[in-house]
């Protein structure tokens, strides 16, 4: 069973592992191309003053995601340090 925790929920400074991406079509493709693939580790590193978007560290690069997109990415924080 997947946790219902999404990337948008994890606090700045914490890390998680991607379990699934719940969107389809070009949006899903785009996220996968940016390196957001299941099994990958993501670090939430910075949030913009308005709270949206948030910058994430993924596979060696900083990627900024809107909360709408980040909430499509389900994650697991257990065992990720």
């Amino acid at each position: 069973m997947h946790s219902s925790l999404s990337l948008a929920d994890i606090p700045v400074g914490s890390s998680a592992r991607i379990t699934s991406i719940v969107t389809i079509g070009p949006n899903r493709r785009r996220l996968l191309d940016l390196g957001l693939v299941p099994g990958s580790r993501v670090d939430s590193i910075r949030r913009s003053p308005a709270g949206n978007p948030t910058a994430y560290w993924i596979k060696g690069t900083v990627i900024a995601l809107r909360n709408e997109d980040a909430s499509q990415i389900l994650v697991d924080t257990r065992g990720v340090f």
Binding site: G25, P26, R29, G35, K59, T61
Partner: protein, 260 residues
């Protein structure tokens, strides 16, 4: 070194291959991997380099000579994929797919290879004439990252050359590999991504039916996969001149499934 600019021939394969000595090389890669530095090193040009998104907005061209061959190098915008999600990606994709470069040289960042290999595999789905340049090897060494370029070449089925373009390291080898490739001394056998059975069987149904709609040098497997993804817009980018009886409107309105 001679600096020059040329109009890229859209039909490089038209000439007799035995007498050709002018080759087109497409330079692709993720943003911020030192692609423009490789371009400048190879051509002796001083194209502006810097690291902000979308820097190389249009494709830049330069020429270099090596072992009595002339090469036109086309610097494409840096992209993470070839799915035409942005203007940059579309420029890069259209050039690799439809301008028939003799070789596509993919530049990647040795410090985050995993991220970069996504684009490499996408390029390999379009063309087998690919050379991988693993750049920033100096940076990787500083970060204690070792890249086994030989193993990588084996896994991908294409030549892999490690470089540190800022200092010029590895660039002579890169030119030799490009030369060996156009001379036919290197033959690639690229790793092909195989999808699940359902998808593959759809591809098998669509692929042969595409033959009448496009010239035979267009990679029909790749086009079939894009149509299955719903990228119908792609059909409008296939060059007109080679398509005498191309029923554009028909495909556009009916979509990919009418081909089944």
């Amino acid at each position: 070194m001679t600096v020059n600019c040329h109009i890229v021939s859209t039909e490089p394969g038209k000439d007799n291959p035995t007498v050709r000595n002018h080759f087109i090389i497409a330079l692709a890669g993720n943003p911020n991997v030192g692609k423009s530095t490789v371009f400048n090193r190879l051509t002796g040009m001083k194209q502006h380099t810097g690291n902000w998104p979308g820097k190389t907005v249009i494709k830049a061209e330069g020429t270099f000579y090596h072992r009595n061959r002339r090469y036109t190098l086309v610097d494409l915008p840096g992209t993470y994929s070839l799915h035409a999600g942005s203007a940059d990606e579309q420029v890069a994709r259209d050039f690799i797919c439809f301008s028939r470069p003799d070789i596509t040289l993919v530049v990647s960042d040795a410090t985050c290879l995993e991220r970069n290999l996504n684009l490499v595999l996408q390029v390999l789905e379009i063309t087998s004439q690919v050379v991988l340049c693993v750049n920033l090897m100096d940076e990787a060494k500083r970060k204690r990252i070792q890249v086994d370029t030989e193993k990588l070449a084996q896994e991908l089925g294409i030549p892999v050359v490690g470089t540190a373009a800022r200092s010029g390291q590895g660039l002579n080898r890169l030119k030799n590999v490009l030369g060996d490739m156009v001379d036919g001394k290197i033959v690639t056998s690229p790793r092909c991504v195989v999808y699940d059975q359902e998808l593959e069987s759809l591809v098998q149904q669509i692929e042969p039916r595409l033959a009448i709609y496009m010239p035979n040098w267009v990679n029909r497997r790749w086009v079939a996969l894009r149509l299955l993804e719903g990228e119908f817009n792609l059909l409008n980018h296939i060059p007109h001149n080679a398509l005498m009886d191309y029923p554009r409107g028909e495909i556009k309105e009916d979509g990919a499934l009418c081909l089944l």
